[in-house]
């Protein structure tokens, strides 16, 4: 099944990516090929088979809700492209 140009544009929007004209064309072709390849899994009989949710049998891991020393706030802010007074700075979102 071929992926349409419109689907590629829609998926890019969901993934917060802008695509150029040539990228739209490239990913339309690539995704059609990759998903065709992925479709091989549909020839496997999985009646009464449950999904593998995690790679090992660990499920919920609980711990006590205790206050612990975490990474230093200044150290975490050092990589922020824009910051102000100990906070991450973003453009205005409310008019």
């Amino acid at each position: 099944m071929a992926i349409s140009r419109e689907e590629v544009i829609h998926i890019a929007k969901l993934a917060s990516l802008n695509l150029t004209e040539s990228e739209i064309e490239m990913y339309t072709n690539d995704m059609t090929e990759i998903l065709e390849f992925a479709n091989m899994i549909n020839s496997v009989n999985t009646d009464n088979v449950s999904e593998t949710i995690a790679a090992n049998e660990k499920y919920n891991v609980f711990r006590k809700d205790e206050i612990k020393q975490s990474v230093d706030k200044e150290a975490l802010l050092q990589n922020a492209p824009s910051k102000d007074d100990g906070m991450f700075r973003i453009p205005k979102v409310i008019n």
Partner: protein, 493 residues
């Protein structure tokens, strides 16, 4: 006389312990080697000479003063550039993280710090570990030390090339679908992907969280066990890491496979695998039989679906994991924006390379409304079928023997135009990640072009001992370790 950089880590440990050499001498030897060879090989994204020498001198002083020091203290190591070392750049070979300075240590790094290992630098990789040739690095391509016109494999191509070229005695890599074992194979070194949950992933930049594992890339099997000893263990910061008793993997280094039952899945010595690779695997099977193991052909038919399962699950997880790169808290931020959504979209569009975007697109698609059941849920079910097939095989066999890579090192550009063709480079390694079981890549000779070939030994979950034992026995009874890279330019055909 042998140069220090030619030695294995365990040989260096012996010489450090006896006082024959100092860590400063060893560390300098590696930086000299890096200066001599890395201009051509280009394995390192960044080197840490100043801090390395400082640590080496401290360890030397402690040893000299008779203070108790670890046997690992002062041994240099290279780290794939997707693991965090406090205060150093961790780029994932991406423009997105080009200037990211890690504010904390990965748990594996904390473990190495306790033993006072010396960091030589951070090693090149495919961007966000997505690729099989290191051609997807946003910075530069790493060359295969055996033939400079060929790829070192990937995604841990920098780690494998550095160890092969004697620019590090050993290195850490990460493996999501073969990213330790395949480059180790293409560069003629030993690569181990541990069982999922054996090594903490905390501080490893996430690609596909249900598949990623950190593991050693080393010159021999003994070093693989020694490095695994340091990184294995439960970590409360990674809820998927298992609470199992700490083991000494060097106890598995026993030169004996008598009575070991080895399965040889016929699907991996058939179509799609290069004849010379196939011959090497069959010769290894014969060798194991000579050494007293029983080798029996078996079938792993569902393995052929593993790569399809992989590209659904890995891309789905990647699209989710990489959602965090939004240009706000860290990473690249576009200069062009008027509002918040512009920052997200423009930063991601300018910061990610083509293969990363491709995987985010596929991952977003298979998780999107209307396709979730047909792709993601179905892939998780087929994953169960593959796991069941492994369980059945491991009722009969102690380990499985397969190739690592269907071909030896390929040329730059040979597969980079066709994503599917590149994905096929991982057909022998991907099933191991899907099953969450351990696999080791061990050199098994050279092809007619003089390029390394390796065999892969696959074990039961949390039974690294048996594959290490088989790998060690194979290594001790063959002389493939003696083959050295030639740094030739423009190989034969």
């Amino acid at each position: 006389m042998m140069e220090l950089y030619e030695l294995t880590a365990h040989e260096l440990m012996d010489k450090l312990a006896s006082g024959e050499i100092t860590s400063e001498e060893v560390t300098k030897s590696y930086f000299n080697r890096i200066k001599e060879k890395d201009g051509v090989v280009k394995a390192y994204v960044s080197t840490l000479e100043e801090s390395a020498l400082e640590k080496a001198r401290k360890v030397d002083a402690d040893r000299k003063a008779g203070k108790p020091v670890s046997k690992y203290a002062g041994i240099p190591i290279g780290i794939k550039d997707n693991m965090c070392i406090t205060g150093t750049r961790t780029t994932c070979s991406s423009k997105m993280l080009e200037n990211f300075v890690a504010p904390y240590d990965a748990t594996v790094i904390e473990n190495l710090n306790k033993e006072e290992l010396v960091y030589l630098g951070k090693l090149n990789m495919d961007e966000f570990a997505m690729g099989s040739s290191t051609e997807n690095s946003a910075f530069f391509t790493t060359k295969n030390p055996w033939d400079l016109e060929r790829v070192p494999g990937g995604s841990s191509g920098g780690s494998a090339a550095a160890v092969a070229a004697d620019m590090a005695p050993w290195a850490l890599g990460s493996d999501t679908g073969g990213s330790i074992r395949q480059p180790a194979s293409l560069c003629g070194v030993v690569g181990l992907k541990p069982t999922y949950g054996l090594v903490s992933r905390y501080g490893l930049v996430a690609f596909a969280s249900s598949l990623d594992q950190i593991g050693p890339i080393t010159k021999d099997v003994t070093d693989s066990a020694l490095l695994l000893n340091l990184i294995a263990g439960h970590d409360e910061k990674d809820s998927t890491s298992m609470e199992i008793e700490k083991k000494d993997y060097t106890k598995a280094l026993v030169n004996d496979v008598k009575g070991m039952k080895i399965g040889l899945p016929k699907e991996y010595i058939g179509e799609g695998v290069n004849e010379e690779v196939k011959a090497s695997v069959l010769a290894a099977a014969k060798k194991f039989e000579e050494l007293g193991a029983t080798v029996e052909e078996c079938s792993f038919d569902v393995g052929k679906y593993a790569t399809s399962v992989y590209y659904v699950i890995a891309d789905a997880e990647a699209s989710s994991n990489l959602g965090r790169f939004d240009g706000i808290r860290y990473g690249y931020r576009s200069e062009k924006f008027e509002n918040l959504k512009d920052i997200y979209r423009n930063s991601r569009s300018e910061g990610f390379g083509p293969e990363v975007k491709r995987r985010i697109m596929v991952g977003t698609y298979v998780l999107s409304s209307g396709y979730y059941d047909a792709y993601y849920k179905k892939a998780q079910k087929v994953r169960t079928v593959i796991n069941n097939a492994y369980n059945e095989l491991f009722k009969k066999y102690d380990i499985l023997l397969t190739p690592v890579s269907p071909t030896t090192a390929f040329k730059f550009g040979e597969k980079s135009d066709n994503p599917i063709e590149m994905y096929m480079a991982d057909i022998c390694t991907v099933p191991v990640n899907i099953g969450g079981v351990p696999g080791i890549s061990v050199p098994s000779g050279l092809d007619s072009k003089g390029l390394p070939i390796s065999i892969q030994l696959i074990g039961k979950a949390f039974d690294e001992e048996t594959i290490l034992r088989a790998a060690y026995t194979y290594e001790q009874n063959t002389n493939f370790r003696e083959n050295r890279p030639t740094f030739k330019e423009g190989g034969n055909n």
